[in-house]
Subunit: 201 residues, 3 copies
């Protein structure tokens, strides 16, 4: 829930900065928080998606909207905690997404891809609706951290050396650590074109 | 069908203004008319979605394209009727979307969210494909009217005081009235940033 | 597979030109190659979609990314072969998409619409993620070729004069020929607004 809340806050903040109205802010907050999970549930055939059948997500989105609109100065000062919870959410979503896909009897590739989708899908939908190229495709170690977590879950499930709970905890810690370190040291994945531009200078 | 037609006309008009070719105009007309219903059907597991298995929708989209391309000056003069039928379509889509979700045995939240999705999903997809921030997220009482209609359907279904048909009629009238009044008096939901801008002036 | 590869190369090239990072390029390559098929599978209720449950697609996307990043000058010179394989992919995707929908017991309209979706869906998702109006909606005989192929499959299936394999081969050849001729002679569908602009000059 802390992760969902951080995702909703990040959505509401982005929406507010683009001058959306109250409904728009709430819709974007909800989509960031639930969009990834909804795509995952559609892909594994779990209808209706948990994101829309569970009141909690909607309430979290409404609270996030209220906070962002009413106490914007507070939310702005909360930038660091929000990034912290966003990393928590990223880790949790990637792990639970991968676990849910495995639980529905799908293979490892489905689990890895849907783990990433759960973690980053909402953010991508936010960027598409606000008509900007999704941040996670341009830079930052974000989806890669989710990929690592989902891969650990799948690997742990195949090897079956330790219980699933321990695998999940390890995956969470690894993903969270990668993300926080990437934020702190401004790690980015290489972007090939930039490298080429440097060469041509 | 009048609602579907109005939606298709609005899609074809927007597509034509962006210099799309004949196929593009028809595709956007079809997506505005059926996109919301397709998402709803995917979410409740009703495959294949009615929008793509039913010839009528496609024919409506083709007729709307033909009219918009062949008789553009007529369509432009029809701006008021189109807004009128658009409000009819909005009400009908919100009510039938909520009813279909309830009919498939889903809970009230699913019905409300999918009622809104049915009503506004096509328009959002149009705006995303034409790369602009969806109008309904920025201003205008549009999704809010759909929300009201869907909520009335769900509430009427729970209370069960009067027959479902009467509930649907009341929801339709309320939604239609809100939308027409909002159009007439240029009602908008507050956008928090604008309010802040005024304060800082 | 040649078609999938051409689609993945076209996605990776477009992503590279927009300065995406390695993950972004690979994600776009994967989406162009599999996006259309995933939407089709969701619409016919074939979960999980083949695109995400089959390792081959992911590996093709990774190889395409590697080639585009490592040997960009080679890929750029391959522009003609890529357009050739893209036409092959377009034809194959349209035919197999329509066949798969028929195979799942859906009607002709579903098959035609999903044939087109399989063929062009990935490209549309690429353009939406890179925030540009989808090329196929603006000009070029592209979706129309896919439409023709899917229509031939459905018609052949109804008439049942010759075996399904022959129908598929004819549909492939017709679609491929239309696309190559359209590329060679720069055929476009008429765009109504341009015509009007000329009249007003």
């Amino acid at each position: 829930m802390a992760g969902t809340f951080a995702f909703a806050i990040s959505g509401a903040t982005a929406a507010r900065k683009r001058n959306l109205d109250l409904f728009g802010i709430c819709a974007i907050a909800f989509i960031v928080a639930c969009g990834g999970g909804i795509i995952r549930d559609l892909c594994i055939g779990a209808t209706p998606p948990a994101g829309i059948s569970n009141w909690q997500y909607l309430i979290v989105a409404i609270i996030a909207t209220g906070l962002t609109v009413g106490l914007f100065s507070v939310v702005e000062r909360l930038n660091r905690p929000v990034l912290f919870f966003d990393a928590v959410g990223l880790s949790l979503f990637a792990v639970t997404g991968a676990e849910k896909a495995l639980h529905f009897g799908h293979n490892g590739e489905v689990a890895v891809l849907l783990g990433i989708t759960t973690a980053v899908g909402g953010g991508v939908m936010r960027d598409v609706l606000l008509t900007r190229v999704p941040v996670i495709l341009e830079k930052e170690i974000y989806a890669s951290a989710a990929l690592t977590a989902a891969a650990i879950v799948v690997l742990g499930n195949y090897l079956n050396w330790i219980s699933g709970d321990w695998v999940a905890i390890i995956a969470l810690i690894v993903c969270f650590t990668i993300r926080i370190l990437a934020l702190h040291y401004h790690w980015n994945l290489p972007t090939p074109v930039n490298r080429k531009n440097k060469l041509t200078k």
